[in-house]
């Protein structure tokens, strides 16, 4: 399940959907990304998240399919918000269930690392000194590169 939406999401509802799926599940890993009040050295008042509708969903589907190919996974739930956000707001959720914890941890982190570097979302921050587009981070590119197989 992959959703791009303006509304907030409810971790408990996502977790329940993962958990109630099957008694063969032994591990559920969730990642939630929150808006920080500080970035690139400045206080941030709000954030606007833009995306390339249509392409975003395709890229996220592809990343999740790659995770399924690589690890033994029961279910994936992925939600990414767009539009206006405030500090402490939830931005993104990735939940993965599996029989074993190693698969759930790896798949969840893999999905986030590739979402960060491949999914067409862009953040514009509002600071006291005006608006600015957030710069891509080298650390995100490095994180995605770790998953390359030899």
């Amino acid at each position: 399940m992959i959703i791009v939406q303006e509304q907030d999401f409810d971790l408990q509802a996502e977790y329940s959907a993962l958990r109630e799926d099957s008694p063969a599940i032994g591990a559920i890993v969730t990642f939630t990304g929150l808006m920080r009040d500080f970035n690139q050295g400045d206080d941030v008042q709000s954030l606007f998240l833009e995306h390339y509708a249509g392409m975003t969903e395709k890229v996220l589907e592809k990343i999740c399919a790659q995770a399924r190919d690589r690890w033994s996974i029961q279910q994936i739930r992925l939600i990414h918000r767009v539009g206006e956000l405030r500090p402490s707001d939830q931005i993104v959720f990735v939940g993965v269930s599996s029989a074993h914890r190693g698969d759930a941890f790896a798949a969840c982190e893999f999905i986030m690392d590739f979402l960060k570097t491949q999914a067409p979302f862009w953040k514009r921050e509002q600071t006291r000194d005006g608006d600015r587009w957030v710069d891509a981070r080298q650390s995100d590119a490095d994180a995605a590169r770790r998953w390359q197989k030899d």
Binding site: Y52, H80, K116, Q118, P120, W122, A136
Partner: protein, 83 residues
């Protein structure tokens, strides 16, 4: 005709979100399309040479050799910053 899309900083810099363009006969790939757009002046030249610029044809990221035959959706955008 191709459908051009520009996102985020690129859209702001070019002051252009979407444009329909008749493809000249000699333009057969996205690299040539970029060269054509750069001829519009400094603003375009600068924006379409930003570090890490992506191009996607029909919503799939591709390299500058990707072929165009008309009818495609071609999107230019800066490095992504979601998550």
């Amino acid at each position: 005709m191709i459908n051009l899309l520009f996102f985020a900083r690129l859209r702001d810099d070019l002051d252009c979100q979407q444009e329909s363009l008749a493809l000249p006969e000699e333009v057969t790939n996205v690299g040539q399309l970029r060269d054509l757009l750069c001829q519009r002046g400094d603003k375009w030249q600068q924006a379409l040479n930003m570090p890490g610029l992506f191009v996607a044809v029909n919503q799939e990221v591709c390299d500058w050799n990707a072929e165009l035959s008309g009818g495609e959706e071609v999107a230019f955008f800066p490095p992504v910053t979601g998550g």
